[in-house]
Structure formats: C-alpha cells, structure tokens
C-alpha cells in the first residue's frame, strides 16, 4: 500500500515534469534549439498568477488566464528579441543566449518581487481523493495527471490534423524546403513559442499548487529535471516527453523511498545515462539521418 502511494506521488511529480518537458520538446523539435529559459517562464507565470490573486483579488480562473496571456507574450517576445536574430548562428550561440535569458528573467524577478519566497495561495481548492484505506491522493496530483494527459492528446491532434500543425512538422523536418513550399517559418516558430509558453503558465499553476513556495529560483530545478525528462523520452517527441517526465518522477520518488533521499538525483541522472548509452535518441526518439 505504501509502495502504491509512493508510486502515485511519483506519477504526480512526473506529470509536472512532463508538462514542462512538452514545452522543451516542442521548441526543440521545431526550432532545433534548447530553450533553457523555459523554466524561468514558468516562474514568471507563477508570479503573475500570484500577483493577480493576492494583490488584485481576481478570481482563480481570471488569474490563470492572465498568467497564460503574460507567458505567451513573454515567450514570443523572448523569441523575437533574443533568438530570432540568431536563427542562422551556431547552435552553441543560441544555447548561450538561452542561458542568458534564463538569468535575465531570474534577476528581473529578483528585482521586482524580491528573493524572499512567497507562500502561493491555494487557488485550485481541490479535495483529496481516498482510493482505499490508508491510500489518499491529493487533488492536485489527480488534476495534474489529468491535465497533462489532456494537453498531450490535444497537442498531438493539433500537430497532426491542423494546417499550422502540418506547417510545424514541415519546418521541423526541413526548414529550407518548408520555406520554399510557402510555409512562413518565422510565424510557425513564433506560434511554437506561444504554445510552449502557454503550457509553461499551466505548469506554473500546477507546480505551485503542489509545492506552494514561489521564489525567483522556483523554475530553475524543475526546468532542468524537465529538460532531462525530454531527453529521456526522446527530445522532439511529444509522447516521449510525457513518458520521460512520468518515468523521471517515479524513479526519483522510488529511489528516495527505497534507496536514499540524498542520492535520488544522482540515481535519476544515472538512469538517464544508461538509457542514452543503450538508446542514444531517448526512449521514443527517432533516429535522424544527418543530411550531407
């Protein structure tokens, strides 16, 4: 029974990772860049929702919508200002820029909100679910898992069955050819960032609902873990991000429970290394032939 409860809390933690990993993996799949600022977009989203609820007394749904809008605007702005001028630069230059943006957002939040951690209000107000005697699941865990699954399905449908989704696939496969076929590459990449950032806003609410402590560094560690999850599942693959995230959460929690709380992160990354040795593209990653 206790094993089950550790497993469930692991899945819930993993769902948050999965949701963040979706943002990483989409941007990587389409723009071929690692957006390390993604975790900090989550943090900004959290602060927007926090400010809306605690300072302006808005209701929870409006606050969440505000958070989503703010994150979308921020994500698109970051793409336009920081990444677009480097579209033809080396991947390393873009990577460094992304790290720069990440620090910029953290320090900006530090200046605006201060570094004292805020207690995030319980805006979802969810009841806990009693599955069996001695086995309860928090409402946040259930909602996180459900929302992550729904978003994954909607995203998959969106990419496979809409015009923009097809354009995304085209840009992902061959940017030059897509442009020649009349796909607007810049718009497509902007839309990708917009979707990724909207997911970040949702992730921020779920993250803060489960762990109600909000500081400018809130997004950093989950961001790294989610990136790991995206690589785990095969970066660029949407179901892969989901599987990677949940596996990561479960491995982390079970190794905390049965091996060592202090070694759990080392074990998580150890498993990642083994997976990458056996299957270098990750669990669901496609083998891409380099075109010469």
């Amino acid at each position: 029974m206790t094993f089950l409860s550790y497993l469930i809390s692991g899945i819930s933690l993993g769902s948050v990772y999965a949701l963040i990993a979706l943002g990483y993996t989409m941007v990587y799949g389409i723009a071929k860049m690692l957006n390390f600022a993604h975790g900090d977009v989550i943090m900004i989203g959290g602060f927007v929702v926090f400010t809306a609820v605690s300072s302006m007394n808005t209701s929870a749904p409006i606050a969440i919508v505000c958070g989503i809008i703010a994150c979308v605007v921020l994500g698109v702005a970051i793409e336009k200002i920081a990444y677009k001028p480097l579209r033809n630069a080396t991947p390393l230059a873009v990577l460094i820029t992304a790290i720069g943006v990440s620090y910029f957002l953290q320090n900006l939040a530090l200046i605006i909100f201060g570094s004292a951690a805020k207690n995030f209000p319980d805006i979802l107000k969810l009841e806990d679910l009693q599955l069996a005697e001695g086995l309860t699941v928090t409402g946040e865990a259930v909602v996180t898992i459900l929302i992550t699954i729904v978003i994954m399905i909607v995203l998959t449908l969106f990419i496979n069955y809409t015009k923009i989704g097809t354009a995304m696939q085209a840009v992902s496969e061959d940017r030059g050819a897509a442009q020649l076929m009349g796909v607007n590459v810049n718009t497509t990449i902007s839309i990708t960032f917009a979707i990724g950032s909207a997911l970040a806003a949702v992730a921020s609410v779920l993250l803060c609902a489960s762990y109600p402590l909000l500081s400018p560094y809130t997004g950093a560690m989950p961001g790294i873990k989610a990136f790991t999850a995206a690589v785990f599942g095969g970066i660029g693959s949407i179901p892969g991000a989901m599987i990677g995230g949940i596996l990561l959460g479960v491995i982390e929690n079970l190794s905390k429970a049965y091996i060592s709380t202090e070694l759990s992160d080392a074990i998580v990354f150890g498993v990642l290394i083994i997976v990458l040795i056996v299957k270098p593209t990750g669990i669901l990653g496609k083998k891409m032939n380099e075109k010469v």
Partner: protein, 389 residues
C-alpha cells in the same frame, strides 16, 4: 591585433590602479575622521532572500539597541554608527558585503546572521583581526578563531538541548527526524542530537534527509515518517522548508508533534494564510516575546513601538543583546575609536571573557573560544504566536 591587445591591457591596468588607489583613499580617510567622532560597527545578514526574516529582525534589533545606546551617551562617551549590508544568506555575497563594510571603515562586525555565510566571513575577519560577534550564526565553525564570539546557542548545544528536552518531557515516545543534509546548520544539529538521543535513551525510529536541490517535495520523507509510527518529528531546519513540510504533512494526514530549533522561528509568517498549520509546533529558542520578566517586556514594548507593531522574535533579541554585549565589552576594554581595528580586537578579546551580560535572551558569560553559556527555553506556537512553555 597584438598592438590592440597591448593598448587594451594598458587601459585595464590604469583602471585597476585607479580603483586600488581609490580604495586606499577610502580606508585612510575614514580611519582618520572616524578617529574621534564615532565607533562604526558593521552588520551583515539576509534582508532579502531565503532567510530574510532573520536578517530583518537582526537589523531591527541592532538598530533599536544602537539608538538606545546613543541616546544614553554612546560607548565610552562616543556615539555608535551602525552600517548594514545584505547578503541574501549566500556565503559569497556575505564576503562581498564584508569587503563593502570595510570600505565604510567599520571597526567591529556584528554578524553575520546565518551560519554558512558566517563561516565564510569569519575567515576574512580572522585575516584582518577584526572583532566579530554573531548574534545567530550557530554552526561550530561560525566563530572559528579567538576573535569571534556569538550570542546564540551553537548547533551542538541545540542538538544536545533538543535531545535532553525530549528525554525529559516525552519519555518513551518515538521520534523521527527530517533534516537538510546539504546545510551545515541542519546537519550539525542533527549529528549532535543523534548522539545525545542515544545516550539519553530517546528512541529515534526514522531519519530522513533532503538536499537543497530536492527541498520542495517531501511526500516520500513524510510517508516514511508515517510508516515508522513516530509521534514526534524533529525538524532541525529553516522555516521555509518547514512551511512546506507542514503543508504536505497536513495533506498526507500526518498527525504528530513537530519539534524544531531556532531555525523554525519565522514559520508563522512564511505560512501566511495557512498559519493555522503551525499551531502546536514546539521550538527550542532562548527568547519568548511574551515572557513576564521586566527586561523582556521593556524590550518587546520598545521594539513593537519602533517597528509598527511588529513582535520581536529571538533573532531581534539576539541582535539587541549583541549590541549591549559589544557595549559592555568595549567599556571593560576601554577602547577608543582612534585605535586600529586590530588593537580594538586585541582589547575586546579578554574583555569578552570577563563580562557577564544579563540580556533579553538570558544571562550570559563567554569562554575564550567564543561560546556563550545560557540555557534554552522551550516554546510552543499557540493562537498564531510564540508562547513560552
């Protein structure tokens, strides 16, 4: 290319020289004019960041004491100037803050507030032979060197005190521990607690650790504690993680007696709207704002009046005492502001071991290694405030 580089190097060196000269000028200037005018005492602590509650309280407490001391004629008839620097509870920033204070010409240091930064700064003050008194840096190494003293209990002292208290008051109950393995304060208390618990026969049934990178999700640790059937959970950690643990313990349906050390001070404010979760939490600290003795009541009244109704916590009390301790030792040593930093330190060292200060955190004397002797008090959180037991 090469020529450009040379030119660049030349410019760089000129700039560096200008800075170093400016620094010299600053030092000399304040030393001279600081001469007859005033004692400059520096303070360092986190007024923003993870442990901001402590830094703010210390700053407030120290400023209150300085205002009182100055109103009563200063130290040895010389007024005191108190300058403060924020370190965000970060060792590197704390050393930078100390360097900035030296530029301000400080002659003694009242700080730093938290253990890990204090351990870094104490090495720097040792180099400069600057007298240092930390109000609340409780790690053993926070006062390394014979120039450094502290007001609060040391970590071993808190660990031993907690184990003794449990042996005396919760005999026969099962105890679990959750501590931060990546923090010197937390692991320091835990180690001494574990040793003393064994000698006193306190039954420790579960020990769970976390690290600063995994300090958000405690479901597993709390699950283990629940499995173990512990009735008391010892939390030798800071209040932010404690707030998360209390929130998650409530969700996990864990009904136990939480027991902490001075790091838990501030948990009520951190919980905000959920402050009810802290009801019944016990902590070992040297100061209770609602104690009935006259000293505490005068201090609490003055503090509340000075800071918009804010009730002082033990950090404010430690800092308030720290200033009066400096005053007592300085008067015993007969120091004057025109003495050099090192001379002041040499005079203060023996004076510290000779004085007895009856402060708001108890009656204290010091040994040459800088440790105070005083006894801890247990407190419980009741109706949203700290009450003496």
């Amino acid at each position: 290319m090469k020529k450009n580089f040379k030119r660049f190097a030349a410019v760089l060196m000129v700039v560096a020289m200008m800075f170093s000269m400016a620094a010299c000028g600053g030092d000399g200037g304040s030393g001279d004019e600081g001469g007859a005018a005033e004692f400059i005492i520096g303070g360092i602590g986190p007024t923003t960041g993870a442990a901001a509650t402590y830094g703010e309280a210390v700053k407030n407490g120290a400023e209150l004491a300085v205002a009182e001391i100055n109103a009563a004629g200063g130290i040895n008839g010389v007024p005191v100037k108190f300058v403060w620097q924020d370190d965000e509870h970060d060792a590197e920033k704390s050393v930078n803050a100390y360097n900035a204070l030296k530029d301000d010409g400080i002659q003694m240091l009242m700080g730093t507030v938290t253990s890990a930064p204090c351990t870094a700064v104490v090495a720097k003050t040792a180099e400069d032979n600057m007298f240092q008194l930390t109000p609340s840096g409780s790690a053993v190494d926070s006062i390394k060197g014979d120039h450094a003293f502290r007001v609060c209990f040391s970590d071993p002292n808190q660990g031993v005190g907690s184990a003794d208290y449990m042996a005396d008051n919760f005999a026969g109950k099962k105890v679990a521990v959750i501590y931060n393995a990546s923090d010197v304060y937390s692991s320091g208390i835990y180690e001494k607690f574990a040793a003393q618990a064994q000698t006193r026969g306190v039954e420790v049934v579960e020990v769970q650790a976390f690290t600063k990178d995994s300090a958000t999700d405690f479901t597993v640790q709390l699950g283990k504690v629940k499995e173990s059937g512990a009735e008391i959970v010892f939390l030798p950690i800071y209040y932010q993680e404690a707030a998360l643990i209390l929130t998650q313990a409530e969700k996990a349906g864990l009904d136990v007696q939480f027991f902490g050390c001075d790091g838990l001070d501030g948990v009520i404010a951190q919980l905000g709207d959920d402050a009810a979760l802290a009801e019944g939490v016990m902590l070992l600290t040297p100061f209770a704002a609602d104690a009935k003795d006259e000293k505490t009541q005068t201090f609490t009244a003055a503090y509340t009046a000075a800071y918009n109704g804010l009730v002082p916590n033990q950090f404010a009390a430690d800092a308030y005492d720290a200033m009066y301790i400096i005053k007592a030792a300085a008067e015993k040593a007969g120091i004057t502001p025109d003495m050099s930093v090192s001379d002041i330190c040499e005079a203060m060292k023996p004076a510290m071991t000779q004085i007895t200060v009856d402060g708001v955190t108890g009656e204290m004397t010091w040994s040459a290694d800088g440790e105070p002797t005083k006894s801890p008090k247990a407190m419980i959180i009741k109706n949203g405030s700290y009450a003496a037991l």
